[in-house]
Symmetry: D2
Amino acid sequence: MEAIERTILDHGKVVLLDVFGSDERIAEAARVSYQQGTKKTRSDRALLRYLMRHRHTSPFEMAEVLFYLKVPITVARQLVRHRTANLNEVSGRYSELPNEMYIPEVDQCGPQSTQNNQGRAPVTNEIQSRHAQQSMRFASDAAYDAYDSLLNVHFVSREIARGVLPLHTYTELYWKCDLHNFFHFLKLRMDTHAQYEIRVMAAAMYDAVTPHFPLSCKAWEDYILNAHTFSKLDLVLLSRVLRGEIPTLTDAQVIGQSEREYTDFMAKLSELRATER
Amino acid sequence: MEAIERTILDHGKVVLLDVFGSDERIAEAARVSYQQGTKKTRSDRALLRYLMRHRHTSPFEMAEVLFYLKVPITVARQLVRHRTANLNEVSGRYSELPNEMYIPEVDQCGPQSTQNNQGRAPVTNEIQSRHAQQSMRFASDAAYDAYDSLLNVHFVSREIARGVLPLHTYTELYWKCDLHNFFHFLKLRMDTHAQYEIRVMAAAMYDAVTPHFPLSCKAWEDYILNAHTFSKLDLVLLSRVLRGEIPTLTDAQVIGQSEREYTDFMAKLSELRATER
Amino acid sequence: MEAIERTILDHGKVVLLDVFGSDERIAEAARVSYQQGTKKTRSDRALLRYLMRHRHTSPFEMAEVLFYLKVPITVARQLVRHRTANLNEVSGRYSELPNEMYIPEVDQCGPQSTQNNQGRAPVTNEIQSRHAQQSMRFASDAAYDAYDSLLNVHFVSREIARGVLPLHTYTELYWKCDLHNFFHFLKLRMDTHAQYEIRVMAAAMYDAVTPHFPLSCKAWEDYILNAHTFSKLDLVLLSRVLRGEIPTLTDAQVIGQSEREYTDFMAKLSELRATER
Amino acid sequence: MEAIERTILDHGKVVLLDVFGSDERIAEAARVSYQQGTKKTRSDRALLRYLMRHRHTSPFEMAEVLFYLKVPITVARQLVRHRTANLNEVSGRYSELPNEMYIPEVDQCGPQSTQNNQGRAPVTNEIQSRHAQQSMRFASDAAYDAYDSLLNVHFVSREIARGVLPLHTYTELYWKCDLHNFFHFLKLRMDTHAQYEIRVMAAAMYDAVTPHFPLSCKAWEDYILNAHTFSKLDLVLLSRVLRGEIPTLTDAQVIGQSEREYTDFMAKLSELRATER
């Protein structure tokens, strides 16, 4: 297959190098479980949707996706937490790393979110954000100068000198994952709580994979990505809604919900009420 | 690629359905780690041998092999212990299983080995072994008759009826593994201590894979399969041999070896002395 | 801790040998992620519920449960598919296996389910089921006699002789799993689609573990076990229900659902409407 | 158990928080495989050594070690590559990171090694190395100042601001691993090719674990850590040595060795000849 290069962030890259398998191969593997008894009794599409709906995940492990990625180290550190993937990353012990640092766009230099302890809020003071960006650029350049001097003036080993490089330094990797675990990775990393930079990468990865597994991807979108899970407590509230009541925060707290859970539930309800109207 | 079917045992099959990657792809992935600094400074062959020798295993994880296997359940139960592989197996809950049982050849019906607590000895009394084989055939047929009656006379569910089927019933699976873990699997299952039936399967699998990764396979044979590890205690004895001494069992026991370790060491030594003479 | 033995099925056993960690330890591990900034700002209970609700699974991996299990081989074969667990199983190559076979109760000898391709229906003809049970008992005894003869009359090796033993032969194992993956195992194996015999084992295992991790278990029940996931298509139907409509099968099919999905959705709806009335 | 804190590097810490299991537990798990047939026929010590020698690794997976670690991010990035371990790490998205940076001792600020592409050579020019250290200290302080300004002057979110922090920033984690995989980790990270900083951490970890599994650790040292593997080609050379010849580089090249392999072989030989003399 022809690899298509997608650019992300300022210097990042997402390249789908190769895929192994196809929707047909996944369906074929699933049919081994059912043997002749149920063979060909339904289409690949229906079978793949059945598998996804019932979380019969093993046939999706029969396919693989292989990427070349160029991302900031902060992103790579989140990526590497997905332990079923295989990866090879550039080593700062073997190679001198080039001066490529991630400098966020101004609109990504907003303040700490007040709602999300791990995230950023939209930019409110553009001048401040512009100064912030400038400050990151200076810091990155200064760090790279220090790295360069350590290597070429002080003659320190690469494995030690790299210690002064910033976490926004770009790294490169080969990353391979089976389709089931790739979907799991996407579910976590395309989520609104995930960091913006990894969301951008995940979206580009998914975009590249979709044409190769159209039926599996559609099934995943319908049954996983765009599904919604109501907790046992949510279901109690939902049952009241179905009986025409409007649950209050007190109702929610009586059955053990936190204020945040209640708010999230009510938001989901509003969203549902607004669907397709 | 064209899948070639290999027959093993009496009804078994080994079919390499597909491979992902190549020696070149593995080398390419490894070169990511070294980046431009060392790029193309050595051939793929030299690089793959270097990686294998130094147990830099992650690039070999970038390749995959996918098999269709038909093997006795006893073999499948050993296979499934390799946890990094992906598999889909026929389910006796969904499908009625056909009457295909593994009946060993007479020359595999020898007595318990006196040296190997887990293995068989060569046949010494052929009439006895022939009777044994006949007895297994009868037992298998009787078990399948019982299964058939449970399904078709007593109308018991498949998931319960299968409980009377023997462990030598053939099962079928799709089995996928990355090359590094496939090599690890082979190292354990091509070993003389492994059960004959899984050794036969492993050998057929390796035979099918070799043409697709010739350089990696050769490196694996030289640095892993046909290598020999001397323990710290073996090395003490070896150092004496190099100084012209012949270590005795007492010498071995003094430094903490068991009789079996000593015997194994001396056997390895004789084998080495006999090499290429 | 004192291990308590639970008996399951006819000869089965579930013994929780040991646990590693506690609710406190899990909360403590989670707090590492948040460091001093948010330390002690909420109770262990609230933190564990937050983690479970948001699928922050890694802190639950810090705890382990270790079991001794004695179960039919059919059950062990399902158990071994959970690849993050560690296990040691009795080997029929080393040891002669005792005559212990699982013979289902009569009420488990019902016919194939017409709704569930993989399951059994309730017993309708008790005489037939009684005959089925008797037939399984005979088949098991005959198989064990054959095994015994192969070992003691024909002097065949254990690893070959075991091939005639039925899949309902009991096996024994040590099985260890981290709490997150144990929960995942339970979710799949306590499900009504799981085979009765493994459901019985899973329930006994959960029952033994609950007192050791009361907060984590309660959170898991509320946010996972007793939660319900509505697919994207279900949500479309639900939005209509919230607007006072009653979706028909045609409505469901227009948006891409199968008849089975529609039926399941409507059943869930009825169940919700009936909650707490 | 009482956790003992070990200090490593300048601000690093290694604390063994808890262990699960013991030598006895491992032996007990192994005996399940052999059942009554071979029970108690040998001591725990002999059994554990047998298991280690024959790479019967699964019983060692029944034990776990749990650490609190404080290490530079460069070390954490190597640690996280061991995928069977469980970990929770401080998140720079949730928490403001303190000003703790790894500044190597002067004797670790030597030049790039000429023999080892990934390592450092001993310090030859102490003044240069002292300047290098000073330069790293300045760079670290400047980077932290930038981080602090981004947070407290420019009001940038934590997840973005951390991008300017150096790779030598200390991070904290809970890290749990089963004993088999812990040994595998140690084998790789106590190796002379591993980076000095991770070797120091691995040694401190092993030191803390040894008293809890004395028999398993000793077996590992004898059969794995201090064992030596001769490749198939090394064995050909060794057979010649045993016949009184001294293999030359040409001999080695004829059978396919590189110069480096030959040199390593001859070095091992000299070392053996020198043993215990």
